[in-house]
Symmetry: C2
Subunit: 146 residues, 2 copies
Amino acid sequence: MADTARPDLAAMIVPLGRALMAVEQPVLDAHGLTMWAYAVLLGLEESVRTQSALAQDIGADKTRIIPILDDLQEQGYIERRPDPDDRRARLLSLTPEGRRVRDSTQAAIQAREERLLDRLRPADREGFLNALQFLAALPKEELAGE
Amino acid sequence: MADTARPDLAAMIVPLGRALMAVEQPVLDAHGLTMWAYAVLLGLEESVRTQSALAQDIGADKTRIIPILDDLQEQGYIERRPDPDDRRARLLSLTPEGRRVRDSTQAAIQAREERLLDRLRPADREGFLNALQFLAALPKEELAGE
DNA sequence: TATTGTTATACTCTATAACTATA
DNA sequence: TATAGTTATAGAGTATAACAATA
């Protein structure tokens, strides 16, 4: 039987996402990162990859991340070197300082999030995180298709 | 002990919200509504309210909803009449056709969402919806403050 | 003086098009 | 011809400022 009382998923998720971003903005500011710069650092993780692969992975387009990469490189958080096997491409990698600032920023952000998650009942918290990780990992086509 | 393996909440929620909106866009198109027009119809529900109250409630600002209200009024989905007690203000209400299009749109959207939720394990699904409704109902200040 | 609704304007974010250098 | 990276431009979406009517 349909539970007609629940609001639409998107009507809850989209504003919640906006609110979370607003809450986390001061944390990013304190670490000297913009949201997209942080997303780039997270997207690089341990791996080395090309700019367009990174852009696609973090949901930005390849033109928009360029000034962000410029800044990160200037700050010494990432390195950009030509791919010896394909001289059109640039291989991106985190510097040790990049890894450090990413880790300390993420620690601060997740600590804040934990305070929020602690207000949920344990079972809800676990279901929430499980479901969220499952849905976030779904390819868009699968979200749309079924 | 910290579970360092989980992605940031915002990093999962924001892209998921974007993807959901993209998935639901065709449904809105089929019903001849924009996202904000749909949000307005949902925001009116059964109640009658003023424009700025509505705007604040749906997370838009009062200047942005005006052309949307114009369209909805022209389509015959809402009525705008001056408040007899305060002639500066306009009282908004749904027409029967407005209520009908809102209901059929929401039914289509929630049916689509149900197909997605059905892919979750029952316990995760319940926890997810519980947590989401709790978090979405939190006032922003509380999200930020604690 | 403050507030509702409104219009016009500016700003930010995102997407598109066009160029270069390689392939 | 196609692709990676880049630049410049255009378009959405959003926020700010100023105005008329009313309180």
